[in-house]
Amino acid sequence: MTEPLISVKDLTLRFRTDEGLITAVEDVSFDIAPGEILGLVGESGSGKSVTAKSLMLLNPDNAVYDPKSSITLNIDDKAIDVFSMTNPKDRLAIRGGAISMIFQEPMASFAPAITVGSQMVEQLLIHSNMNSAKAKEISIEMLARVGIPDPAQRFGQYAFEFSGGMRQRAMVAMALSTKPKLLIADEPTTALDVTIQAQVIDLMKDLVSEFHMAILFITHDLGVIAQTADKVAVMYLGKLIETGTVREVLRNPRHPYTQGLMNALPKLDDLDTPLIAIEGDIPSPLDRPSGCVFNTRCPVSLGVECETRVPVYTAGEGEHQVACLLAEKEEKGAQA
């Protein structure tokens, strides 16, 4: 068993707002090994982006981390406690250095008045001690690597001169040019058309095997996860409710929420089965249910028990873990 690249333990994060303290993430723990793609799935408001931003301490000032939360980075046989880094210089080594991030909307990630090339060079100069000629060479190389034709010419252009797919490729090139150990991809394909999405997914998979880096892939699309990730973590209202390898979770979902998501998803190979919606709406963060967070919408809720008791993780086959009282009961029944 190799040491995980990043290890998140009991991450709990609340936001101080006008309406009170809002829990965004609660007791989230996961590891990512080098070269591994972890898919973090969840709907809007599930806390998946907030979780990712915590890894780089990028959350806004009104975020309050619980003292028991810990994030450990293992780089070059050194364990770094992310929360203990108060020095902005140390943080810089993480932000854009060991960890890079790509976003849903690439247009918003490039400064409009600076060429794509000089932004890439600037980033390289900050994070390494190469000279600018070398940085330019590497940047052009990266642009070529992500499949941008005419990279030398594109280097001198502005983001608005790129098409949507090209921008996302350039974003990937920029994020990877510093050779990060971990890439956080926050909904990188959501704003793209399906045909372009397929291209970007292929590109990212190629790059992982080439650079041997880890990816935290955030998306709401289970199909994209199935095609990219090794492991999956399903999030609902700030909690990880099911984790495991892609095959374990998608072929044999055990949490009623994961099952509900699979049933609600329109599938092309089965047009006859009607879509089964998950009843009700996602509760507002102000209205966080007690007990199991999913109990307000759960079709197989046990009633009072689910409303009061927070389920613990029940291990299944392999790495499969699920936080559900039903699974707990089954497990006990099997043991008895």
């Binding site: 291209q199 699309d221 199935a226 998501l261 049933n263 998803l265 092309l268 919606a277």
Partner: protein, 330 residues
């Protein structure tokens, strides 16, 4: 065969661009010669990527985008309207019969009005009710149909989540009891668990009220589950149209095939057949000559680069615009 509610023939929408001082003004051909028949009581799907002109087409049918050429007729058994020439009282009357559901449930609801006022606005503007009590009654009826909690009617939109807002948006579109609804990407902004709920709601309302939907979406799997008939658009042109099952079972146009194979499968071991498209959709200001898809088509030959293909009939309702569909089918 049921009757046709909306019928277009060679419908075109061109937008003039700010041109140079001399020479002809360049135009963007957002929609070029699109002919479709939408059957009454059907769920007609319109599929395409961004820039394909699907939104413009929907808006043109609602007279929210200017029709440059071609004909479009609305006929619901009571009235027949020639859409391009519609104005004055007839246009007002048509607005009662044709409504739009927006993609973004956050932008489409005025933040300064209560839910009741939002839903009631069409009734008040169109003068469909004579008293406040009557308006309230109709608002309550339609709200109940769209599963909006009646106690929530006095709330403001900021109190609601995306799914609830979309139901409000739907209630508003339906309150004037229209015949024809354009649903423009109306589930694209919603979460998966909510999306199924809104789709099922639309379906049940359609059955209930006998409505006709033009369902615009970029998501083929959603369209497959909702629509009876699908039209695929690329760069303002119709490339293929067929009943849903036929289209998904035997797509003929290379673009339709590519779209289908690009949808990521839920099975981690099924990577789809290697039909991945290269490149991106060209800009509508500068479309390629010949077949618009030739720049990305893996099967393009000389004729594709010179001549624009016409829609060929290959079945009763299955049309395809490709020079080589017969060869490729083999």
């Amino acid at each position: 065969m049921s009757e046709t509610l909306i019928s277009t023939k060679d419908l075109s929408v061109h937008y003039p661009l700010r041109g140079t001082l001399f020479g002809p003004k360049p135009v963007v051909r957002a929609i070029e010669k699109v002919s479709v028949d939408i059957q009454k009581g059907s769920f007609f799907g319109l599929v395409g990527e961004s820039g394909s002109g699907k939104t413009t087409f929907g808006r043109a049918l609602l007279r929210a985008a200017p029709i440059t050429n071609g004909t479009a007729t609305y006929s619901d058994g009571e009235v027949i309207y020639d859409l391009p020439s519609l104005n004055g009282e007839d246009l007002k009357e048509y607005r009662k019969r044709a409504q739009l559901i927006f993609q973004d449930p956050y932008a489409a609801l005025s933040p300064r009005m209560t839910v009741r006022d939002i839903i009631a606005e069409p009734l008040e503007v169109m003068g469909l009710t004579s008293s406040r009590e009557e308006t309230d009654e109709r608002v309550r009826t339609i709200a109940a149909k769209c599963r909006i909690n009646l106690e929530h009617l006095r709330r403001f939109p900021h109190a609601f989540s995306g799914g609830q807002r979309q139901r409000i948006s739907i209630a508003r579109a339906l309150v004037s009891e229209p015949q024809f609804i354009v649903a423009d990407e109306c589930v694209a902004a919603l979460d998966v668990s909510i999306q199924a709920d809104v789709l099922n709601l639309l379906k049940s309302i359609q059955m209930d009220m006998g409505l006709t939907f033009l369902f615009i979406s970029h998501d083929l799997s959603v369209v497959a589950h909702t629509c009876d008939h699908v039209a695929v658009m690329y760069l303002g042109r119709l490339v293929e149209t067929a009943p849903t099952r036929e289209l998904f079972a035997s797509p003929r146009h290379p673009y339709t095939k590519a779209l289908l194979s690009a949808i990521p499968s839920l099975d981690p071991d099924d990577h789809g057949n290697a039909q991945k498209l290269e490149g991106e959709i060209p800009s509508p200001t500068n479309p390629p000559p010949g077949c618009k898809f030739q720049t990305r088509c893996p099967h393009a030959i000389d004729i594709c680069r010179k001549e624009e293909p016409k829609l060929d009939k290959l079945g009763l309702q299955h049309d395809v615009a490709c020079h080589r569909w017969q060869e490729l089918a083999v």
